[in-house]
Symmetry: C2
Subunit: 433 residues, 2 copies
């Protein structure tokens, strides 16, 4: 009986695995250029953490969480996003004490949301993200936005766009919330149950309602941009001006952008990619400023700013829009032994080469030379080393460059000696990873 | 209200995070030398997968799994180990079709077991492992054992030991099982409930019983080593002889070693580390040969061999026994701007240096030169670039080598030009990661 993978999950292997590694290594590399340090928080957290941070009124908490009781009766949740866990870790481990602020952490790892699976959307998916906590400034917001932008540009996406908005400061949010409550109060009785709940917990969420009638009503609701306080508007302008200085040159202001998480305050943004015919194919990630998140979950009163990029989405777009040839990851040596004595010498070669840091493949079954050379080229090796009884007797082995067929002769000690003793051209090809 | 981490989970951050990265990068590096390709399988699998593979009689399946129903009523389990998922993926994606055998996959990722948390033992922990599937041979078994050995040696553990046993072939297991049933049948009525269950499902497991009375009875049970068939004994000897050829020179045969997973057949082993006073501090990982695992879960009839190493355990032992100094991970530049104009120039420097691949930190709050230089050295930077109004007016900035205090002068375009224009000594220090 075949056992199937769980609906909405996927395996990453072979060529695709190398592509994911490339996307992840590049993300780590860029984050480290901005002096971020990697953090790994657990996949299992108390359910309460996400209720408090992501927010009771969000779709994630209401509909999409994998929540269950463990054998000790605790309500646990598979993290639907990573920011809450990073904040919990900052509080748990008191990472703010005696530290240079802002704290700068990046992460790469799996998240879980019980959503309807679609092309490129999974129930277990992976996110890369960063969080900068403490010492907030328009510069830090702009730097954070630029990090994701630089990452996507470095992956050679031809058209990366930052779509940005400001949710304003506390004054803005109180005024806007009141205006929304007043506006929706005339309609709420006839709106859907979700909207009724949102009306009480977070009227801003009503604007995301997918029910056609409710959506129609929402269209005429007051606009957040009309309620921005002077301070909030000035701060937003400052961020917009700084973005150019940080190398972000494709910016679009979208007053309707709110993002799906309750904890954002101030600047929020998304990264959009365009296809080769310049159509916007949608958001690949985004982020925002958060004033109260760390305090909400019991930590100190430090503001933060962060971003997250969905790796499945990034990989899908990268492999369809950018990728031109396979990710190059050549094997250094394929060892081709003919017979039992040859196999023994081959194992000595393989062991010695691996100890010296080279990648080596060696077959353990009996094969003809023809079949060995076929396997060597199928394994995408740079060089084959051919070993037969005659080669052993004469201490004269053949090393074959599989890119051009050129053969050179080598001795046993050229390989198993303390240092590899091969001609410069071969050494150069080996070191050229 | 502070929200606590889930019992048995832990955060990995700062210096420790760099240490984990070192252990993981080295594991990937070694696996790739042996021509393994990374595979990432889901954390969520059908519960059935582990019942079928890890085995109904194992402690893992009986007591330690995080199992729950999802919103669609499916019984899901957070993987307690990764081998079963890799096999499921090989079957699901038909990875054996048209492929060079053995298939060789490595993995690094989280696993979950509801165990009593102890020092260095977590409910969410991480494993590195490999699986080689298809074309079984004594050579492939020995190669697999050597990979883990080479990995641990490369981490500079001073005393790595391979403890090894053979569970024999089918003939062995049938004969031994019968002998065990016969032996225990005289006692089973008075043994514990677990043992009664094991008596029916897998009498071999009775040998692991922790109940003192049962343990006493188990001590006099027949020994597996007395039941090894001639074939199995000969195969085991071949593996033992080959290990030396593969560079494994510290081997101990232990006839009582069985490992806790039902799927092993043939050779099983563990890696043991000794402390500096030569005391064996226990197993850091292990592996074994499995004949029927892939077939059991609905795949083709291909044998395999694999190993897994617990990263929390490896990290704990590495940091107590091996680590001498902090993992070196220096920041390239700390930019020290004094005043608003200097900050603007500083951001240009930072952006340009990051685009060129260097790591840069820049503070956005106003600080005195003294406080800036203190931060620079606290951030463990190689160089500080000092920017004030005078420096801007004269286009003459100071770059300070923080390892020796030596100062050099640079111009704006030395940094923001297409290529970095600094003296050779500085470039060399920058490239020396």
């Amino acid at each position: 009986m075949q056992i199937n993978p769980v609906k909405g999950t996927h395996d990453i292997y072979n060529e695709e695995s190398k592509e994911y590694s490339l996307l992840i290594n590049q993300a780590s590399n860029i984050a480290e250029r901005f002096n971020y340090v990697k953090m790994t928080t657990p996949i299992l957290e108390s359910t309460n953490l996400f209720v408090r941070s992501v927010g009771e009124s969000s779709d994630i908490v209401n509909k999409e969480m994998y929540t269950f009781l463990d054998k000790g009766g605790r309500s646990l949740t598979l993290r639907p996003e990573v920011t809450a866990g990073i904040m919990r870790s900052i509080a748990t481990n008191k990472l703010y004490a005696n530290a240079e602020l802002p704290l700068k952490y990046y992460y790469v790892g799996p998240c879980f949301r019980y959503e309807r699976p679609q092309a490129g959307r999974y129930r277990q998916f992976h996110q890369f993200g960063i969080e900068a906590v403490g010492n907030p400034s328009a510069q830090l917001d702009a730097e954070t936005i630029s990090l994701g932008y630089l990452y996507l540009k470095s992956l050679k996406f031809s058209n990366v766009k930052v779509v940005i908005n400001s949710l304003g400061d506390e004054e803005t949010r109180i005024n806007y919330r009141n205006a929304l409550k007043q506006y929706f109060s005339q309609y709420i009785e006839n709106m859907c149950e979700d909207c009724k709940r949102r009306f009480e917990t977070n009227p801003l969420r009503i604007l995301d309602c997918k029910v056609p009638e409710d959506n129609e009503i929402a269209k005429n609701a007051p606009k957040l941009s009309d309620f921005l306080s002077d301070n909030a508007r000035e701060y937003f302008d400052r961020v917009l001006n700084l973005l150019k200085l940080f190398g972000v040159d494709n910016i679009v202001i979208d007053n309707s952008l709110v993002r799906g998480l309750d904890y954002y305050t101030g600047v929020v943004w998304e990264y959009h990619i365009s296809s080769n015919d310049a159509t916007d194919v949608g958001a690949i990630g985004g982020g925002g400023h958060y004033k109260n998140l760390l305090k909400e979950i019991g930590g100190p009163d430090l503001e933060g700013v962060g971003l997250a990029i969905g790796l499945e989405r990034a990989h899908y777009l990268w492999s369809t829009l950018v990728k031109k040839e396979p990710v190059d990851n050549k094997l250094d040596f394929y060892i081709a032994p003919m017979g039992d004595n040859a196999l023994e010498v081959g194992i000595k070669f393989a062991t010695s080469l691996r100890e010296k840091g080279y990648s080596v493949s060696i077959p353990y079954e009996n094969k003809s030379l023809k079949s060995l050379l076929k396997s060597a080229s199928k394994s995408n090796a740079k060089f084959a080393i051919i070993i037969g009884d005659e080669e052993i007797n004469n201490d004269n082995y053949i090393i074959k460059d599989l890119s051009n067929g050129v053969q050179t002769n080598i001795k046993f000690n050229d390989i198993v000696g303390e240092q590899l003793n091969l001609n410069n051209e071969i050494i150069e090809k080996l070191n050229n990873k």
